[in-house]
């Protein structure tokens, strides 16, 4: 699934052109991206949470050369699926 499929699904429900829907879908992801720069969390009930985690600097190793390197402090984004989503993936009829 890509944005095109999402646009298609929304297009079938609202009376806008596909071009308009595509713009709105783009806006939704832009809003989420901007929000993650300012806030630490997006909670989508029934789907999951996008959470920013602050990682401290740590010593690491270049796996190719074995060199000792410093891994700098960083902010990373993680996704925690909701119970509802996890249950949906594991329903009997969802199994192949």
């Amino acid at each position: 699934m890509t944005k095109v499929d999402i646009v298609e699904a929304i297009y079938e429900k609202v009376g806008f052109s596909k071009k308009e829907v595509a713009k709105i879908v783009e806006s939704i992801f832009d809003i989420m991206k901007e929000s993650l720069q300012k806030e630490d969390k997006i909670k989508i009930s029934g789907f999951g949470n996008f959470v920013i985690r602050n990682k401290r600097a740590r010593r690491g190793r270049n796996p190719q050369t074995g060199d000792d390197i410093e891994i700098s402090q960083r902010r990373i984004l993680t996704f925690k699926p909701s119970q509802v989503l996890k249950a949906a993936l594991n329903r009997k009829e969802a199994q192949p």
């Binding site: 699934m1 890509t2 699904a9 609202v14 929000s35 990373i76 984004l77 949906a88």
Partner: protein
């Protein structure tokens, strides 16, 4: 931010009513959920991708009682952050 706040922002930014914005946002996440239920991979350019990974069953232990329990096979969704968003998130001060 929660889903209601996202809907409000979408409504303001795109000049659609709250009601329509809700239908759109709900359809987006419902569609993504259904896609993952089918085992499909989702790829959102500039944002990230979702894949479903399957795990085999195993025998585990109830940590409280020590009782041996069967953990059935399961599927879990994983999110891989897109390059653009990964950099956006990390370039924020603090």
């Amino acid at each position: 931010m929660n889903k209601a706040q996202l809907i409000t922002l979408v409504s303001e930014k795109t000049n659609v009513t709250q009601k329509v914005a809700k239908v759109i946002v709900d359809t987006l996440f419902d569609g993504m959920k259904e896609s993952l239920e089918k085992g499909d991979r989702i790829e959102i350019r500039g944002f990230g991708s979702f894949v479903v990974r399957s795990y085999g069953g195993y025998k585990g232990r109830n940590p409280k009682t020590g009782e041996i329990v069967d953990v059935p096979p399961k599927k879990l969704p994983f999110f891989k952050v897109g390059k653009e968003l990964k950099e956006m998130v990390n370039t924020v001060a603090g």
